[in-house]
Amino acid sequence: MAVVVAVAPEQRVFVASQWQLMWWRFRKHKLAVASGVVVLGFYLVVLGADFLAYADPDVSEAQRSLMPPQRVYWFDGWQFGPYVHGFKGARDPQTFKRVYVADPSVKVPIRFFAEGFEYRFLGLIPTTRHLIGVDGGLDASQTIFLLGTDVQGRDLWSRLMYGTRISLTIGLLGVTASLVLGVVLGGLSGFYGGVTDTIIQRTIEILRSIPTIPLWMGLAAALPRDWSILQVYFAITIIISLLGWTELARVVRGRFLAMREEDFVVSARLVGCTELRTIFVHMVPSFMSHIIAATTLALPAMIISETSLSFLGLGLRPPAISWGVLLQQAQNVQTVAISPWLMLPALPVIVAVMAFNFLGDGLRDAADPYGR
């Protein structure tokens, strides 16, 4: 496919910066581009979780326990005016299931930019406005449950928004920590070689030889259990990253080794560039793209790790909300049998993992514009 670049008639190919070349190349991987948009969407949710949520994720109500997702009616007669029906619920004394029946005589209109619980938008601006809501805000007797409710009658949609925030920031923080470790150690390894290289390479090999799950479990179990949610959150991020850096370090090292012999690096050195200038002006930009790709590819592993740790009971614990916590609460027979909507949080996990993977693949393919 390198042919494409060579036969392109426009002069701009030859004067384009490396980043431009990458972009052109990246654009060709349609799935990657689409994934990029999805990923962007996810991070918008991270920023605006409390704006997108319309109910306090902690408020419970027994009379709304295990309500299935509500049907939204988009048009009220002729006009666009989304609404849901009111509902009544009771426990069936024979089956012990909670039964809900929509009451079509009660229309609960969905309002945009409605009043709801108080929060700080982007952590700064105190407000009570949410993307959607119902008239009467917190005091309304009938309200909306787009994705239904959990056992405690808490709104799943709102919990999912908060869970997304936590899980994706964990992923991002974890990947950043991995990145720092990977770049520093991989860089040292590739730059100095010799004993340093051997020691670091051995460490990587050993870490990779220990099955991941016991390693997580050992580390997670070793956390002081009286830590607050926030402390556990950070600790888990670090644990996940402690195991995630090895791959990045390999990539960095490999790049370093390969590039030291590249013509442009040798020329830079011959022209009399200092060591630092050679590394930061000529080498780093070149392998930055690889690092970004590798980082993107490391994120799904972080997300999966977070959910798996929660499943094992070693990750974030209940008062906290994360994808892992939500899935762990859905990990039971009664959910599969009578309240399957509680498994919906698996959907964003799947979408995010795939989006990051495709994005990462696209970036990796693009990272080497003259390569393939």
Binding site: A90, F96, V101, P318
Partner: protein, 682 residues
Amino acid sequence: MSQVRRTPRNRTLRSRLTVALVLGALTVAVAAVALAQGKNALIGKLEGPEVVTDAAKIPKAFKEAPQLAELVKAGKLPPVAERIGQDPLVIKPLKEIGKYGGTWRAGFTGPADFWNGFRCCSGPDHLMFWDYTGDKVMPNLARGLEMQDGGKTWLLQLRRGMKWSDGKPFTADDFVFWFEDVYRNKDLVPTPSATLAINGKQGVIEKADTYTVRYRFPEAYYMFPDVLAGSTDLAGQMFGYRAMGGFAPAHYMKQFHPKYAGQAEVDKKAKDEKFDSWVRLFLAKNDWARNPDLPVLSAWKTVTPINTPTWTLERNPYSVFVDTAGNQLPYIDKVVLTLAENLEVINLRAIAGEYDYASRHMDLGKLPVFIENQVKGNYKVYLDPGDYGGDMIIKFNLNYDADPEIARWFNTADFRRALSLGVDRDQINETFWLGTGTPGSVVPVDSNKYNPGPQYRKLWSTLDVKKANEMLDKLGLGKKDAQGYRLRADGKGRLRIEIMTLGGQFVQYTQIAEMIREQWKKIGIDLQVQEVERSLALKRTEANEQQLGAWNNDGSEHLFTFPLHVFPFELAAVASSGPLYVKWFHSAGAQGKEPEPRMKELMEKWKKAFGVPEKERIQLGKDIWKIAAEEVYIIGVVGMGPASMGVRVVKNNMGNIPSRQYNSPDGKTPGISRPATFFWKN
């Protein structure tokens, strides 16, 4: 076009009608069932088999399972009458005389799940045991228990001719061996058991004659029959794995004891079997669930041990249990417990009808799924609510001292009461008990002999946000912050209280605590929920670091033999009302902290009860529960529910199944219903 647009309206009309119909039907159904059943269709009448003590009704001739008869014919086994002895333990089956044969399939979760087998299959092998109500002590393996010397001496009569499962006689020597060589051996039992002591003074066990054992105590020990009946250190072979039990098969265990076999010999045996020491070897050999060679007295005996993928138990040919027709029990040949790697699998297998009888590990949250699959799995679901007042309780640590402000409030009765008034128990009952529990204080079920009266169930235990707020205001907690939370009286910000919960239990303590956190917002209390793991919970209660602790008070319906959730009694507890009070109590005031007057009164009444006759004891028991309910040392949330092992799934063709049974660790449920009388109808 217009056609298309009209359709939704039609649908709306139709669905409106449907809704009205469905809701109407629902309401009628709820009302009808509520009227007919009083409460709930799955909770039946308490019933169970009975032990026959009337000499006239004891059968004279005995029958046995066909395969045992074969062995007798082949000369490999003595005749059944010889095996049972002169004094059989006669049980009148709940409904009918059963048939021999078949296998009972169930599940277990691993070597830590040994209670599972004891509950189903030990007989139960207690010396004395409860009748099916769990209230009255009846003779069991022992023929009788006679009080002498004003409660200081007790004579236990054994059954003449009764045998261990290897055919060797069961006599007073087995008690003396246990007492002298096991219990008093410092390596085997480093700390003497409290059950063999009254007021901290140890008693002794002696042989009166071959079939009579004498227990002597320095002071009157009126509670002794209850101790032998309950799941205590003296009750049976269950606690053999930690050298307890009150007796042990002397003829078998002597070969592992240095006194009889010689130190060099037992050391060698330990080494051969890869044990670290002779003590570990001895304990392993004395383990009912682990050692298939151990002679036992239970109805079934272990064939493949608990530390293998299948824990199998087979009928004990020397079982002393018989039915009223003289058939040697058990009816069912074999019990097969298969290892399930996790609780969801065990529940799903029960749902699929792969187990014949299961109640342990069954999750109340799955009740609708159990019911839904009743026909497909050919089983019926029963609920066995407990008799204790709290499937979930919240203990205030009265000794908490890391924060004087919190310590002060925890020791203020009105503060504790206000918090209890702030709990919306109906919400919790509906959500987590599916409405099957009873909201209220910590006191046991109304029919319990120690219950102080129905008004104590509601005392300080109904939702009253207004009153709670008034009480808290009056205490000097009237100031609130911007979010509506009360401020500390010492001016150091918001009054934050922590509750410690355990995950992965029968009751979802963490989730319930989260709900209470929301409810307490309305009374301005900021509750922080901390889920911890078991070992840590223990460490924190012992170190006096717990503020509030969530747990249940199962067993507390027998408050004298199971007091640890009534007042601070054990240091090693997952939730504590005051570790310093525990020390004070057990050191007779030498250590720890002297309790406040009413707590002290409660403790003294409890202590006194062991040395007084039953009638007086019952009054003391009522007084204790009165104090507990009035002072709210422990908040009762929801109780008398089936959350803990109370969801029972039984095959339709299994006979002698009670519609409701006493559910408690003390009753070794289903042991209380005598599984030896369960049988296959076809």
